[in-house]
């Protein structure tokens, strides 16, 4: 019964979405306020219906209702509760429902909280959102229905891929989707502005919080995915330039550019056409990410069962939205007025450079991701484009960007003074140089580029500190004055500096791990020891253990450092009974110097085990940096100025009343 309710709600939602797509546009076109006003309740109702469908599916999972095909394929009675819940989106059909749930949640938020938006803009935005919902609901209902029944119902399910039964991965897809789908808001606002043929600084002020929230979710989602790959896949790496990783990274790069260009538009009323274009590009890349992952074009840990009908359907959705948006852009963009002149050396200029480098770096990743697909389609040759390609192309472009990042916030709007900015950054540059020299002096091995990379990370960190110090006039004003300024500084300024500092941490983490990682692969018999990075590992043997839905062989290691005990590590191999699948569970000892990472391999002939041990220096900084960037975004989001209308509501109301009185 619950599955049928969900199915019914899904189809009703499709009908409501069609209403939401069509009527408001007619209403704004013929100036019919009643038709226009339908957008708001339609968006709210649609969210409620999708939520009903989503919770119906979740109920089927939680109660292990194996008469539902989707539950039978992806769940099992013995699975822990957390993974029964995360199993809802751990498969193709359920993940598409989650996608639409987040989409309609954002739509309902605009309908409910966007009361200060101009009616026409709000209606058009909701209509565009409705059209996206129509496309994806049609996709779900026709090709990916999660509510199909099985008769007779099997006794137990087939289980869930064991590598996915992990807490970090339970929350990775929702954040990633919130990011992808969040950019649909920027897209809808962009298309609505094009339909209107009108755009102003207030538009950017409405778009920025949505973009920022989406960017935060995507940052966290990517960090979680990288963190999971690090400890779960057993290779000790944090990023593989896998096409599916790239699919989430490209919207992030474009979204980061959008965040910065919207800033220029909000503050200076410039770069309008570019910001609109960037909003379209960012969501197009999100759609492409969905396509690459969901269509089965790529085979990886993310690929679902290959079903050509699905791939073609998503390709059609992509074609309609991307093609339609670009056509609309070409037609209407010339109508948008340009404003806000600025000199090349200025805050605007630095943000243009930021956008240029980010989009070009994004394009390089795009080429590397799509080239093998294109080549195979055209010539049949199979190639793989791996890390060397991306290091060579993405690397230099992003390094160029990182070098100029600290200058941006120190330049004034309209016309900046590069020399003054350089003088303020002198201290940061000197410290970064000293760190570079110290690293070079103590470096025993590793590439000569590594000290430069560490220096770059320190430069970013101190650049962010300099930015804040400069704004509060830490030096050159009385201490009380600095404190007063620090308290009055807008939160967005702190948020931006935090995000840049987080970037510095990520750079240091990546460089240190890549350059100075130690790796040993040995055959160890019980009682033997292995030395790595100053640690001694004593292998005590292997013992069997029983988990909730798996059997495990656990390796026992005693770790000492200079004779004194440090910890005990227990890497294991898990054999999942229902899924007939094994996974490798690494064991990690965390210290301030880095991670000691142990993986248990196969048993060899003479009773020994192959054992893989890594020492990854400072690797935690990568995810710590991601978290800092996330919090930076949050601090910026809490800025009062970003809550549109909060300080202006009274004035705006007075104006509306004046207009009404005048009519």
């Amino acid at each position: 019964m619950i599955a049928e309710t969900g199915h019914y709600a899904l189809i009703l939602a499709l009908v409501v979405a069609i209403v939401q797509m069509v009527l408001p546009v007619i209403g704004t076109r013929y100036r019919d306020p009643q038709l226009t006003a339908i957008a708001v309740p339609a968006a709210q109702l649609e969210f409620i219906l999708i939520a009903i469908a989503f919770f119906a599916l979740m109920t089927a999972y939680v109660t292990s209702d194996f008469s539902v095909l989707n539950v039978w394929q992806n769940s099992a009675a013995a699975k822990p509760m957390l993974y029964k819940i995360s199993g809802v989106w751990g498969n193709h059909e359920g993940s598409m429902i989650l996608w639409v749930l987040i989409l309609t949640l954002f739509g309902a938020a605009v309908a409910t909280f966007g009361t200060n938006l101009p009616r026409q803009l709000q209606a058009n935005v909701l209509a565009v959102q409705g059209s996206i919902a129509v496309a994806f609901l049609l996709f779900i209902v026709t090709t990916s229905n999660p509510f199909i029944r099985l008769n007779p119902a099997p006794f137990d399910g087939q289980g869930m891929n064991p590598v996915l039964q992990d807490p970090a991965l339970a929350f990775h897809p929702p954040f990633l989707y919130a990011g992808y789908v969040g950019f649909s808001m920027a897209f809808s606002f962009a298309v609505a502005a094009l339909i209107d043929g009108r755009i102003d600084a207030a538009w950017a002020r409405w778009v920025r919080p949505w973009t920022l929230a989406a960017w935060m979710c995507l940052t966290l989602g990517i960090s979680m995915g990288s963190w999971w790959a690090y400890y779960e896949l057993g290779w000790g790496g944090f990023w593989f330039w896998d096409p599916v990783e790239n699919a989430s990274f490209m919207p992030w790069l474009a979204g980061t550019a959008l965040l910065h260009s919207a800033l220029v538009m909000e503050k200076r009323d410039a770069l309008k056409v570019w910001t609109i274009l960037l909003a379209i590009i960012t969501f197009s890349l999100s759609l492409m990410g969905t396509f690459l992952v969901r269509s089965g074009v790529l085979t990886s840990v993310h690929a679902f069962a290959v079903d050509p009908a699905r791939g073609v359907f998503i390709l059609a959705i992509m074609g309609v939205f991307i093609g339609g948006a670009f056509a609309l852009f070409a037609w209407r963009a010339p109508l948008l007025s340009q404003g806000g002149l600025f000199a090349p050396i200025s805050r605007e200029g630095s943000l243009v450079l930021n956008n240029l480098l980010l989009t070009v770096a994004c394009a390089a990743v795009l080429v590397g991701t799509l080239y093998p697909l294109a080549l195979e389609a055209l010539t049949g040759d199979k190639i793989s484009v791996g890390a060397p390609f991306f290091n060579l192309t993405f690397g230099p472009l992003i390094v160029a960007l990182l070098i100029v990042v600290p200058f941006g916030p120190l330049l004034a709007w309209k016309r900046g003074d590069l020399l003054a900015a350089a003088q303020r950054l002198m201290a940061a540059a000197i410290v970064a140089l000293i760190v570079m020299v110290i690293v070079l002096a103590f470096m025993q091995k590793g590439p000569w580029l590594a000290p430069l990379g560490i220096g770059l990370g320190v430069w970013l960190l101190l650049g962010a500190v300099t930015d804040i110090a400069n704004r509060v006039k830490l030096f050159g004003a009385a201490p009380g004055e600095a404190w007063r300024r620090a308290r009055n500084l807008p939160r967005a300024a702190y948020g931006g500096a935090l995000a840049h500092a987080g970037l510095g941490l990520v750079v240091i983490g990546i460089v240190a791990t890549t350059a100075w990682r130690a790796e040993r692969i040995e055959a160890l018999a019980p009682g033997q020891t292995l030395d790595i990075a100053g640690y001694q590992l004593l292998f005590e043997g292997v013992e069997p253990r029983q988990g909730p839905n798996y059997r495990a062989r656990v390796g026992m290691f005693k770790v000492t450092r200079g004779g004194s005990p440090v910890t005990e590590l227990a890497p294991s191999k898990r054999e999942f009974i229902v899924e007939k699948n094994t996974t490798t569970e690494s064991a990690i000892h965390v210290s301030w110097r880095g991670d000691l990472y142990v993986v248990l391999g196969d048993q060899l002939k003479n009773g020994a085990y192959s054992v893989r041990v890594y020492f990854n220096p400072l690797v935690r900084l990568i995810w710590l940096g991601g978290l800092v960037m996330f919090f930076g975004g949050g601090v910026s989001l809490s800025d009062r100025r970003l809550r549109v209308g909060a300080p202006k509501r009274a004035r705006a109301k007075a104006k509306v009343e004046a207009v009404a009185a005048g009519e």
Partner: protein, 154 residues
Amino acid sequence: MTRKQRRGVLIGTSLVVLGLAVGLVLYAMSDSIVFFYSPSDLTAMQAAPGKRFRLGGLVEKGSVVRDQGTTVRFIVTDGAKTLPVTYTGVLPDLFREGQGVVAEGTLEPDGVFHADNVLAKHDEKYMPPEVAAKLKKQGVWRGEASAPSPNATN
């Protein structure tokens, strides 16, 4: 600065960055792309020793030999031709005889493929698409398991 000059600076910078990116991409394309071959492809053409590529096929039944330490030798077959492979390290969880495998490394003058990376696979029915395509061409493709798709993943 006049409006024209400002625009010139903007366009000039864009062109420099774009040119740099195109140059980098082209250079990387010629140098750091890894091709995928089956054992039959290799006998048809002479692979230069030391050139990296990916080798795909099935692990021949009964061919896996563990040497001293963690070195493993096995034979990759595509039904028509075979190639011996040696690899030092921990094999992925789902490395099994008779199953598909992709190894990355170089073909040395001794005629043995020295792999430094054997690709991890994510379930027992998974076959790298390159391997499936080549096997289909060689006629040894046994078709996909007819059971409903296993663990769809994310």
